[in-house]
């Protein structure tokens, strides 16, 4: 979480991966614009600056895996499903939304994917799914994204204890962006995430890089261990939240915001791979223009109330 002093050249990614990264970024920037224009209601939490986490992890997952996401989940969803239409329609309450507009930004469900806005709930759920996956024996795992602040919640520890005890195939991805809403991690968390994993005998790996390819290479064998060895793993990404917590509620100092902005992977990637970025980015923009236009024109979602 200190700005990277030496910045090695980022590995060039496959077009699909870069597209995924750019899609998440431009999707969310479009969201913030729509909010500013008064076209969206409620709330939203963007993952600006953290997109690479979801893209790196998604590349290590299979269809047999279950993903559990949180309030800051657009990246997790888009990296897995590349479905900006379904997500935008959900957030705008238009026809074709992933959950008919009932769940909204924080509450998404699709086969093998679930998010919720109550911090800490997902780990027990993921443990339960992993119990079943382990029994089924096809090597599926539960992948849970949580933030550093969410380590305040007791449920995280209860579940981690159980996951370790039962040797469940659970991959906990911690997006440690150094802040929870407005509170710096140092004011929320005593000790470290590595220490917490060790307390339960769970493997831990810290990732400081923003290089998607390098991250995957480093994590692939460990993730394989989760699947086949039923060795749960906590991967801690030292990352940076570039945007506000939700909308316009950033009380960090200008210096602090400048510092996190400086850690953004996108300018680095543009600098290291100008040609590829220039080739792909306009198409993503165009796609988001089209998606925003098309979805905004859809009728409001309909929903048959079940309970």
């Amino acid at each position: 979480m200190t700005a990277v002093a030496v910045e090695p050249r980022l590995t060039e990614l496959a077009d699909a991966d870069l597209e995924s990264l750019l899609l998440i970024r431009h999707f969310e920037q479009r969201l913030l614009e729509l909010f500013s224009a008064g076209l969206l209601h409620g709330t939203t939490h963007t993952c600006l600056g953290q997109e690479y986490v979801a893209v790196a992890i998604s590349g290590l997952l299979t269809d047999a895996d279950h993903v559990f996401s949180n309030h800051r989940g657009h990246g997790h969803y888009l990296a897995r499903f590349a479905d900006p239409e379904g997500l935008l329609a959900e957030i705008m309450g238009r026809e074709g939304g992933v959950c008919h507009g009932v769940g909204g930004s924080q509450h998404l469900y699709r086969e093998g994917y679930l998010s919720t806005g109550v911090q800490g709930e997902s780990l027990p759920l993921a443990a339960g799914v992993a119990m079943k996956l382990k029994r089924t024996g096809h090597g599926g795992l539960s992948c849970v994204y949580i933030g550093d602040g969410t380590w305040g919640e007791g449920a995280v520890y209860e579940a981690l204890n159980l996951i370790a005890l039962h040797a469940l195939p659970v991959l906990v991805v911690v997006e440690h962006n150094g802040i929870a809403q407005s509170t710096p991690t140092a004011r929320q968390m005593a000790g470290t995430i590595a220490g917490r994993a060790a307390a339960f005998g769970v493997a831990h790996r810290r990732i400081d890089s923003v290089d998607v390819a390098a991250i995957r290479t480093e994590l692939a064998p460990l993730v394989e261990q989760v699947r086949t060895g039923h060795r749960p793993l906590v991967v801690e990404f030292a990352t940076h939240r570039i945007g506000p917590h939700s909308k316009g509620d950033d009380t960090r100092t200008d210096e602090e915001i400048a510092r996190v902005r400086a850690a953004d992977w996108l300018p680095r990637y543009r600098r290291d791979h100008p040609e590829q970025t220039a080739r792909l980015e306009p198409a993503v923009w165009a796609r988001m223009d089209a998606v925003a236009g098309e979805v905004s024109a859809r009728p409001q979602s309909t929903w048959e109330r079940s309970a």
Binding site: E121, E158, W303, A307
Partner: protein, 330 residues
Amino acid sequence: MRVAENLNLALHGVLADDPGVHVLGEDITDPYGGAFKATRGLSDRFPDRVHAMPLSENTIVGVAGGLALAGDKAIVEIMFSDFVGLAFDAVLNLLSKSVTMYGRRVPMPVVVRCPTGGGRGYGPTHSQSLQKHFLGIPGLSVHEMSPFHEIRDQFDTMLASGEPCLYFEDKVLYTRPMYTGGVVDDLLRYELVDGVAQVYAEDPQAATCVVIAPGGVAHRAMAAIRSVLVEDEISCVLLVPDRLYPFDVGPLLPLLARAGAVVVAEESTAGGTWGADVAAAVHEQLWGRLRRPVVLAHSAGSVIPTAVHLERTVLLQEENIRDAIRKAVA
């Protein structure tokens, strides 16, 4: 057969018949078999689907939800229902919401068993009746064990509902016999009508008072209707439902209307009771046809003391139901 045995057999049966069912809880495995022995023999017979859990009520319920999300089914034992407050969020915001908040029903077949109630001197944190705090949560239903209802049938219904269910088991029932064949004793008969047990000495259609009570209160209510029959010649019918919420008074209205006097008895402490909810529905439906408002009988608005002589002054007793009946028909 004792109720505890019927419960144990029901668990055995569900596990035997459905390979997708799991049982989770604290100290539930053999040889201990659970604090109230309900799970005895399960882990010896189904070792891979009966899971001993650490003291983690919130997470146990969440894990059950995960098993359900993955296509299995789960039955959780909370050792004392008093601790289900630790899982309140998991029940309210995780399991119930998973069924309802994703725009289509996501099935979540989970039963949370809650050994409940007082009368055993276990003290203020091991004796409560918390059913009322779980009423009116969309996607959640609240059921209760009774000596009239075959427990296996209740489990089958709950698991088939595809939504989380709380199942309250009054601890005083465990050592009581299950009733079978329509006979309670030399005086009382019963009949199951639409899942509600009707218990009566004389023709229920001619009863002058209807007492509605969950399973845990049934024995106190039966003692009360017996004594008002003998002492006051008041003929009552007792209705014991197998589900407290949602609770449809519709099918009961003819009986209630004919009697014109209704008592709802429960062990909960005063305030925001199940009875108040039932009363609201009854008053709405039978306005002008009752002699007086539904009489609510419940425990005092008090903590439940440990000492038996004090506990008795707080918890709903047979006498309270008797008094309620007399008030209702006065």
